[in-house]
């Protein structure tokens, strides 16, 4: 399990810095470092075996169905990278301890750094490509946090976003590529994939998979044309640049290319895409680096160039080139990290990294100067340093490949020499200046210890390559190639080879270029160059702006358009789906239309048209709508459905009354909003919808059911099973009592919502608006007329009696709790309308909330009661009783349920009314305590 532990340790370590910072910065750094150190030690324990060619595996099953497992393996390639990540990580932790300013939140920094470290270790140890993807994206995320570490700097935020967009986007492409790759092989295990070269390269999906995977690698490793994010990532603190953006994260792409090299490389597509991209990146990066004045930008582009170099070597697809690539990865990591750290030191001490403002620092910062010079010379490829060795070998490979490749490689090397020398010469050489922004001097040991260590490595690898890293290179190369190692030798002198001449040309040329730097810079600056950041911003801002305009335009709140689209969607999908099926027309004979039907149809049509025509006059359209409701009620009567007719009629009355009251608070007229075009559009859609619905209804009514409908059972069982002869009522309270239970809850909720809504309107702006509206209402002189008062008073007991009657007979005759509730509600509503709310309210004590709640509770209790008879919810029981002198009568639990329905209905209607009347009072309606405004039974004086 040591591999799992190695991968997990940095993540565990990420938990502590935030806490340990309370014990001081040293404690924090040491705590953080100890986790990395521990992981490194564990790795080194495994190293000897791996160097012998062993492969160590740890496997934990995770998601079998997906094929994603926490499988790790350690071979030479993994060892090299893990060693680099942890080793340089340790140095960076040390360096950062002294680099960060007192005001910087160090705990956060180390947390992010450790997250990154863990992710990176995870990538290189993954034996499962899906697991690798997880770690891959985690590096993008942690890099985002690290680049944006200085949150107040716009460059940091923009650089972080850009890096995330490019590398995260590449990661998404990689997901696609890896899934394709896994699909080809039939497994997501790296070990299996690595043995499936022939299958992969023969698959038609090879090219798409390759392209997507390379997209991931190229973005991560800053290959042309995705190189632009790396320089902007330099907004991060320098330890981050040294660690992520030179030594490790940007090498993840290289790692993956090396990892998959055995199965992906060797085809023409691989050679041309990878080789040429690498070559272009190498030359382009080197040229741009020369002209950068910012030390870190110079180093960033040099990194781009060196990454291109390694990519190119991998792209050649030969075993020899792969060995060189591996060797250069080691060398580049050592000298480039050291260079970044020295650049950071210069920035830290001189308070600038602008080469134009530097120079002559060798006197002031001799130690830094020494380290920087060693590292930079290695970067330039000067003998006795490790950079020379691998560059020499690279040129050799380039020369073998193609004459043009050789020429361009030499050109790249030439510029590499030039910018390396420039880094030394323009920063440290030259006369001492007196206008540095800070007071440059060598820093304390803590800050230069890490780069110094790396510089020592640069030298000893340079002198004794075979002794120091021979075994590592061999093991790593073996892992990359997955076959016999080719012949190669890591040594200083290879004899007089083409590479030697190319090297000499590069060095001499580089010096010449630097000598004519001023002139070349003038030319460079005069050249029109595309600025990557500008283009990137333009694209992102463009898409974001377009998205905003698109979504804002689509979602502008025009409900009529929303509904038009809804209706059109329903019609189109319905019609198209209809066309896709087989339709046998119905066989029913059309019945002749009687006069009642024709009159009803005409009324409906005219009323509907009337609503369309007069919809802007709200009162009028409400009146016309009520005609529709009445015709539908009559329709139910016509079709012999008295229950439905009763219900529809009473519902109509209640809703229309409530709507009338609500209209009080609304403008009398709807504003004119629709243009002619929109009216046509909506008109066409509505007509189409109407025809479609009509057609559908016709088609359904003209045919017979293929199977007997379930309603026959209801008819049969109503009396024997449900104890009632009124099937509709038995359905409501028994067969489908659960539906009814739900529906009375809907009613109750509606009333509660109305109440809650009106409550919110009684405060603040809404309240003031209400009072404004109130001022505009013209009030009748006789709001509570005598005739109405008397009539409703007389009606009241009759109506309640009718309600009770309807309720009681409901189970066997048309009626029931729902209708009864509505009838009683109407009777009450009439009292309120006749004498005003306050007067009527004062004459009854029940709280409507309580009525609704007890209605629902009674219904629920009736249902739950069945549990005690060991029956399911809402199972009804009924029996017949006789109490002399009455006739035999039936009692059913369904009646209790119906009582719940009744109460919920009454409560809901009345609560809605009460809520509206609160609004009315806020709108300035006066409260009356007499039943009528003009009471003739009293004298005029009394009345006043």
């Amino acid at each position: 399990m040591s591999l799992v532990l190695i991968a997990a340790l940095p993540f565990i370590g990420a938990l502590f810095p935030g806490l340990m910072i309370r014990a001081g910065r040293n404690a924090c750094a040491m705590m953080t470092g100890s986790f990395t150190l521990l992981a490194l030690i564990l790795l080194l324990i495994e190293a000897p075996a791996v160097l012998q060619g062993e492969v160590i595996r740890n496997q934990i099953s995770w998601i079998p169905s997906l094929g994603l497992h926490a499988n790790f393996f350690l071979d030479g390639l993994g060892l090299l990278f893990a060693g680099m990540i942890l080793g340089i990580g340790l140095l960076v932790i040390l360096y950062a301890r002294f680099y960060l300013y007192k005001t910087d939140p160090m705990g956060q920094f180390y947390t992010y750094l450790m997250l990154f470290q863990g992710a990176m270790v995870g990538i290189v140890l993954s034996d499962n490509i899906l697991l690798l993807l997880i770690f891959w994206e985690l590096t993008s995320l942690s890099s985002f946090l690290l680049i944006g570490y200085w949150k107040h700097l716009p460059e940091g935020r923009q650089g972080a976003r850009m890096a995330l967009a490019v590398t995260g986007g590449g990661g998404l492409a990689l997901i696609g590529g890896m899934l394709l790759l896994g699909g080809i092989v039939g497994s997501y295990d790296m070990t299996v994939i690595l043995q499936s070269r022939d299958v992969i390269q023969a698959s038609p999906w090879y090219l798409p998979a390759l392209l997507l995977i390379l997209l991931g690698c190229f973005t991560k490793s800053a290959q042309f044309p995705f190189h632009f994010w790396l320089p902007h990532a330099m907004a991060a603190p320098t330890p981050v640049s040294a660690y992520l953006h030179s030594a490790t994260m940007v090498k993840a792409g290289l790692f993956l290319m090396a990892r998959l090299w055995p199965v992906l490389a060797g085809t023409d597509a691989w050679f041309y895409i990878v080789g040429i991209t690498g070559l272009i990146t190498m030359v382009l990066g080197a040229v741009i680096a020369l002209f950068k004045d910012d030390l870190k930008a110079l180093l960033a582009f040099s990194t781009v160039s060196h990454l291109g170099l390694i990519t190119m070597l991998l792209g050649f697809g030969t075993a020899e080139a792969a060995v060189v690539a591996v060797f250069h990865i080691i060398n580049h990591a050592t000298f480039k990290a050291a260079l970044f750290m020295t650049a950071g030191i210069v920035d830290h001490e001189a308070h600038t990294r602008d080469i134009k403002r530097l120079g002559g620092l060798r006197h002031l910062m001799p130690i830094t100067f020494t380290i920087a010079t060693i590292a930079a010379l290695s970067m330039a490829g000067i003998p006795l340093l490790n950079g020379f060795l691998s560059k020499e070998m690279m040129l050799e490979e380039a020369a073998h490949t193609d004459i043009w490749v050789g020429i361009f490689a030499t050109l790249g090397a030439l510029f590499s020499v030039a910018y390396s020398f420039r880094f030394i010469a323009h920063t440290f050489l030259g006369p001492k200046r007196d206008d540095y922004p800070g007071h440059p001097h060598d820093p304390g040991f803590g800050l230069w210890a890490a780069p110094a260590f790396l510089a020592v490595l640069v030298v000893i690898i340079g002198i004794l390559p075979q002794t120091v890293v021979g075994a590592l290179v061999a093991a790593t190369s073996g892992a990359v190639i997955q076959a016999e190692l080719p012949y190669y030798s890591l040594q200083l002198w290879h004899g007089v080879t083409p590479a030697l001449f190319m090297s000499i040309i590069a060095v001499v040329g580089g010096v010449l270029v630097l000598m004519s730097f001023r002139r070349m810079e003038g030319v460079w600056n005069a050249l029109p160059r595309p600025e990557a950041k500008t283009i990137f911003d333009w694209i992102v801002e463009g898409i974001a702006g377009a998205s905003r305009r698109l979504t804002d335009a689509l979602h502008d709140g025009a409900i009529s358009r929303y509904l038009m689209i809804f209706a059109a969607t329903a019609v189109i999908t319905g019609v198209v789906s209809f066309m896709g099926g087989t339709h046998a027309a119905g066989t029913h004979q059309l019945l002749p239309a009687g006069p009642m039907a024709i009159i009803g149809l005409l009324l409906l049509t005219v009323a509907s048209l009337g609503v369309v025509l007069f919809h802007r006059n709200r009162l009028l359209s409400l009146v016309i709508i009520s005609v529709n409701g009445l015709v539908i009620s009559l329709g139910f009567v016509y079709l012999s459905a008295p229950d439905l007719a009763l219900t529809q009629l009473t519902v109509e009355v209640v809703t229309i009354i409530l709507l009338l009251l609500a209209l009080n608070f609304l403008p009398k007229e709807t504003p004119r909003e629709s243009t002619m075009g929109r009216k046509w559009r909506d008109g066409i859609v509505s007509v189409a919808a109407g025809i479609a619905v009509g057609g559908l209804a016709y088609a359904l009514m003209a045919r017979d059911l293929a199977f007997q409908s379930i309603s026959q059972f209801h008819l049969d069982q109503s009396y024997p099973g449900g104890g009632g002869t009124n099937v509709v009522n038995v359905i409501l309270v028994d067969f489908r009592g659960y539906d009814t239970f739900g529906e009375i809850i809907v009613l109750g909720i509606a009333a509660l919502a109305i109440y809650a809504l009106t409550q919110t309107l009684l405060h603040g702006r809404a309240s003031r608006r209400l009072m404004e509206i109130g001022k505009g209402i013209k009030r009748d002189g006789d709001r509570h007329p005598l005739m109405l008062v008397v009539a409703t008073r007389v009606m009241m007991p009759i109506a309640v009696m009718v309600g009770v009657y309807i309720f009681l007979r409901g189970h066997n005759e048309p009626g029931g709790g729902f209708v009864a509730g509505l009838v009683v509600s109407i009777a009450l509503l009439m009292q309120y309308m006749a004498s005003g709310f306050a007067w009527a309210q004062a004459r009854q004590r029940a709280d409507y909330h309580a009525i609704i709640a007890s209605g629902v509770l009674i219904a629920a209790a009736t249902g739950v009661g069945a549990w005690f008879a060991d029956r399911p919810f809402l199972t009804s029981a009924f029996g017949y009783f006789q109490i002399p002198p009455m006739d035999k009568f039936e009692l059913a639990t369904a009646m209790a349920f119906d009582l719940g329905v009744f109460l919920a209905v009454v409560g809901s209607v009345m609560l809605a009314l009460a809520s509206l009347s609160r609004l009315a009072r806020r709108a300035g309606e006066t409260v009356n305590d007499t039943p009528m405004d003009i009471d003739p039974s009293k004298t005029t004086e009394e009345a006043r």
């Binding site: 079998p64 899906l130 993807l133 985690l138 995320l141 946090l145 949150k151 107040h152 935020r157 995330l164 699909g183 898409i543 979504t551 509904l563 809804f566 319905g574 789906s577 209809f578 099926g581 087989t582 046998a584 359904l700 059911l705 293929a706 199977f707 007997q708 409908s709 379930i710 309603s711 026959q712 059972f713 209801h714 049969d716 069982q717 099973g721 067969f735 489908r736 539906d739 739900g742 529906e743 809850i745 109750g748 909720i749 509660l752 919502a753 109440y755 809650a756 409550q759 919110t760 405060h763 809404a766 609704i852 709640a853 509770l857 629920a860 069945a866 029956r871 399911p872 919810f873 199972t875």
Partner: protein, 549 residues
Amino acid sequence: MNHLILAPVILPAILAPLIVLAMRHEITLQRVFSVAGSAALVVIAFLLFGQAETGQIQVYEMGNWPAPFGIVLVLDRLSALMVMMTSILGLGVALYAMGSGWDARGKHFHALFQFQVMGINGAFLTGDAFNLFVFFEILLIASYGLMIHAGGRMRLRAGVQYVVYNLAGSALFLFALGTIYGVTGTLNMADLAMRVAALPEGDGALLRVGAVLLLIVFAVKAAVVPIHFWLPNTYTHAPAPVAALFAIMTKVGAYAILRMYTLVFGPDMPAIGTLAGDWLLPAAVVTVTLGMLGVLGSKHLGRLVSFSVIGSMGTLFLAIGIFTPEATAAALYYMIHSTFAAAVLFLIADLVVARRGAAGADVVAAPPIAQNGLIAALFFGAAIAMTGLPPLSGFIGKLLILDAAREGAQMVVIFAAILITSLIAVVGFARAGTTVFWKAYAVEGTSTPAPAQELPLVVTGALLSTMALLVALAGPVTGYLEATSAQLYERELYIEAVMPPVNAEGMPIPQSGTPEGEGPLPPDGPQTALPDGAEPGTVPGAYDNEGAQ
């Protein structure tokens, strides 16, 4: 008889009126009971989950009427899963509403909340298409009440659009049910499944109309473009805990589609075929694209999150629309994930607003808020989840979907849609997050002091950690979901569980325990409801309506 199946519905259905009846003036009492009820629901949900895990489908016959004549509740793996998600989210929302004081800003929060939970659970448990309509009404009207909780101009305006649009959806629901009943003569889902399979060819076209209208109804709830228009404003302006609860509401639509289009209108029905997938897949591509573009284009945190919900629904329907067991299992994983991701994001947006003063939820630079680092970290985590990056469950969900989408012609489209929109979402969230949480440090000024409330932070963190848990337990979770999906596609299991066995005369055999002489025994006589000689699980197509002859 297992009354526990009813508990997720009846418990809140009793609790809510009790709150209205006895506690409506006393917020503390409401809170205690509402939270206790929600916690009890979590326990119940776990018990039910355990029962469903055995693979046995349990049926609860309302009023002791056998299917298809009465209403049945059905507990299978999927419904147990949905109820569990609802209850966990519900508890979180109740605690957040209490901790943040949202519940006291208007009337009846907890009553409406309980009714809402009841409606959602009822929709998940019912085995009857019309009863589904009833519960859609309950959850719609309760959600409207919750949505306009605490009032305010923008909220009320959005509320009107919400309720009007969804009422249009309800009307269409009735059309759809009418059509389906008009063709098949039944509304019980299992019965429907049997009848649809045996339907004469000539009824196919009308059945397809019913099926597709129903699809639209559910797609409205699930906010599939172009019938999603109600969502952005509603979610943006709803009170934060309500918006968080609404994260499960879109899933009600998704659930209903999964249920109906595997059980009743499954791909192997001759008249239906790939009808649902044919409409859903293209719509899903547009949905995920529009949603994520909306994320990129939003200048308001709430709106951004709302669009990300649309985007995630698009992703979800890319998986659902494939209609294979593998893809459905992947869809279920992503559904769990996206529910919590959306909920957490809404809560985080509220945490920001509560500390921000005048800037509100606008994506602009304002002085750093109190607890900026902590809330930024929460946002970072939730954004990772929503955009589908590792290490949270969104990534696993997307991997599962992509893996399942690999077979078939639609692969390239689905891959491209998911991967490209993920990138758009990443950029969108990164822009918003850096502006709100990082750019703040470039602005001078002081912000509102932190509200002295720990609970909202704890709840948000806990809900966020569910997504880490989903990753850690991905093995067992995907195992359960695969079994769930397999159960969905084995329609016979469901049908056999729901439809009563019949004897040689075609009569339902009384269930053991039903005493003689009571309960809904079928009468003697010619009008038997079930076909002669029909066996359990066979199609009742053997009997033709007399009128047809």
